[in-house]
């Protein structure tokens, strides 16, 4: 119960900061940063939030559905620009996957490459 309170508290605090200062950043990422900082500062709290957090994150996909269905109320923009949208998604996904995986590889100090250089 206390753990769920912490999560909802961080979510509310994030929203409050976002609205008060009229930030273009949503309440969710701010609450996420806040709760991460709290958990890193007081690791003992991990035990309290573990269970409610697992329940919430397990149903994350389900919570996307209403927002996706909303596209029905803005169908004209999809009909007008579907080609650009499809290209942007396809190209950036393929290139983005490649770039990110390469970055992880190159940042690795013990990569085979480093041994080969010696």
């Amino acid at each position: 119960m206390l753990g769920l309170g912490l999560i909802l508290g961080a979510s509310t605090a994030g929203r409050l900061v976002s609205k008060t200062f009229d930030l273009p950043i949503g309440g969710a990422p701010l609450g996420l940063i806040l709760l991460t900082a709290v958990l890193l500062r007081w690791p003992a709290l991990h035990r309290l939030v573990k269970l409610p957090a697992a329940g919430l994150t397990a149903s994350l996909g389900l919570l996307f559905v209403p927002f996706v269905v909303d596209v029905r109320f803005r169908w004209n923009i999809v009909a007008d620009h579907w080609l650009a949208i499809a290209c942007a998604i396809a190209v950036s996904s393929v290139v983005g996957l490649t770039v990110t995986a390469t970055l992880v590889d190159r940042l690795e100090p013990s990569a085979p490459q480093a041994e080969a250089d010696q």
Partner: protein
């Protein structure tokens, strides 16, 4: 007339459960993504039932209200990964932040060919819904398109991710004299960065031991994009 206030929440949950069961029947194919299948069937249902926007929004209110707390709850695996992952976690976080910047910029530029609204939504499509939708809303972009583009991106990444990265690493190995080992953790970070929660779910299903790296990547990309993109969009207004 009886008003069933939260009827559409129940419909969404039932559709998602049915989609999960269907994927299991199909042998767990990534293309049979439950979020995609459930969204398509609920979309069909509101078209057939001719439901108004106000009615649908009201009916799904309980689910909508849970999205922000569920996103905040991602702090728990993030803190865990940062505490136990050490330097490796911090290097992965850097790769996710840089990779996420690259994906957003590239998609935004391609989207710009179709005008500002499409550019704004394409730039945010690789971050998770609760992070991406407020960015688009703050930039007066089409939030309805943003949510759909985010989910389609997640599904595309989940479906093509492994195959693309295997092919790329084969190409790299062919071009170098010293063979580079395939790195499943790099694949997990790339999928979390490009395909947020949906591709992360796929990583967790296939290689659970690298799930933590994908979760870290999804959250770090979400947070860093939330911090820089709104200010770029404000400049472009």
């Amino acid at each position: 007339v009886i008003h069933l206030t939260h009827l559409w929440s129940v419909v969404v949950i039932a559709a998602t459960l049915a989609a999960v069961a269907l994927r299991r029947r199909l042998g767990g194919r990534a293309a049979a993504n439950p979020v995609l299948l459930a969204s398509a069937s609920v979309l069909l249902a509101i078209l057939v039932a001719n439901v108004s926007r106000a009615h649908f929004t009201q009916g799904t209110r309980p689910l909508r209200n849970l999205l922000a707390p569920a996103t905040v709850a991602l702090a728990v695996p993030l803190a865990h990964q940062l505490r136990n992952g050490g330097r490796r976690a911090r290097r992965d976080a850097l790769a996710a932040a840089l990779g996420g910047f690259f994906v957003a910029a590239l998609a935004g530029l391609i989207g710009a060919l179709a005008g500002r609204d499409v550019a704004v939504t394409m730039a945010t499509k690789s971050v998770t819904t609760a992070v991406g939708v407020p960015i688009v809303a703050a930039a007066d972009g089409p939030v309805e398109l943003a949510a759909a583009a985010i989910v389609v991106t997640g599904v595309v990444t989940a479906v093509i991710g492994s195959a693309v990265l295997r092919r790329v690493s084969a190409l790299v190995r062919a071009g170098e004299r010293n063979a580079r080992a395939e790195n499943p953790r790099a694949r997990a970070v790339a999928m979390g960065t490009t395909g947020h929660a949906i591709a992360t779910a796929e990583v967790l299903r296939r290689t659970p031991e690298h799930g933590g790296a994908a979760v870290l990547a999804l959250i770090v990309n979400g947070i860093t994009t939330a911090l820089w993109l709104p200010f770029v969009l404000r400049l472009l207004r």
